[in-house]
């Protein structure tokens, strides 16, 4: 089984991912892709503690994950790739990773971000990163938990007032 979900979620590994998406997709493995977490032993330990024992968890930097995806290193297991921001997905696609669609989960309110959905607030830079992904053929679908309604990000961004 290949990669079953790419998800952008600022909270990284947390209840919605492990419980919500875990129950729905029954994935074998979650790969947290984040340079900061990957470089900090204490944070790695913290996030690994949050995954139930039946799910395998790995933490990789963006470059490590990119290399592993490009050599089909995740083919053996049903895998979820989790990143914090669209910038990390964009870095992967720019290095040649082919991504059909991305699930956009929680990115929360902060100064300088516009409200798109109750769980999705984006800055100008983040909007532009998503637009680059979309124009490169990546479908971006907003859905915080599996049973929630899906929203196409490209449609939502078109409606957004400048």
């Amino acid at each position: 089984m290949p990669i079953v979900l790419y998800r952008v979620d600022e909270r990284l590994i947390h209840g919605q991912v492990v419980v919500g998406w875990g129950n729905s997709l029954k994935f074998d493995q979650v790969v947290l892709v984040n340079d900061q977490v990957a470089s900090n032993a204490w944070e790695r330990e913290l996030y690994l503690a949050c995954v139930p024992p039946e799910i395998k968890a790995t933490i990789l930097s963006v470059d490590e994950a990119t290399k592993k995806i490009l050599r089909n290193g995740f083919e053996g297991e049903k895998t979820v790739i989790l990143v914090e921001s669209p910038f990390d997905i964009l870095r992967m696609t720019q290095k040649g990773v082919k991504i059909g669609s991305v699930n956009v989960g929680g990115v929360h309110s902060r100064a300088g971000r516009k409200k798109i959905l109750p769980y999705l607030f984006l800055s100008e830079e983040e909007i532009s990163a998503f637009k680059k992904m979309i124009s490169g053929g990546v479908k971006c679908e907003c859905r915080d938990v599996p049973l929630a309604e899906k929203h196409d990000l490209s449609t939502l961004l078109e409606k957004l007032k400048p």
């Binding site: 600022e10 909270r11 947390h14 913290l46």
Partner: protein, 131 residues
């Protein structure tokens, strides 16, 4: 006096506070934080701000609803450099009403190193099955 912060998903903390105060009356040094709408950094700042306000020589227990969640990660980060009960900050997960009742009944008389295990034990004792 040992203080209490209830850090949960959604409105759970607020409902626990209201319910507890319905039983025991209004409590000093009891605050709540919800993770609703907050990213990792924002939730951590919210907790740090609350801890600065609630700073107390006797310490604080952070009650969290569920292990492994964003609430737990945040609480765990602020006690990261703790050595035993030395820094007087303790995280207890699986918050329920029995443990809060015990906490507010005994926090005036017990030091942290006795109160925290007692409160955890009370929470566990409150979970039973009747068949």
């Amino acid at each position: 006096m040992i203080k209490c912060i209830i850090l949960t998903h959604g409105d759970l903390g607020s409902a626990l506070k209201d319910t507890l105060e319905g039983i025991m009356g209004r409590q000093e040094g009891l605050s709540i934080i919800s993770n609703s709408g907050l990213g990792r950094e924002e939730l951590l700042s919210a907790l740090k701000n609350k801890l600065n306000k609630e700073q107390d020589k006797d310490g604080v227990i952070i009650f969290v609803d569920m292990f492994g969640t964003s609430c737990w990660q945040t609480a765990r980060k602020v006690v990261a450099k703790a050595g035993g009960y030395g820094n007087k900050k303790v995280v207890i997960t699986g918050v329920n009403l029995p443990m809060l009742v015990k906490f507010f009944s005994r926090r005036q008389t017990l030091p942290m190193e006795q109160l925290a295990p007692l409160v955890k034990q009370e929470g566990e004792k409150g979970i039973r099955t009747e068949t």
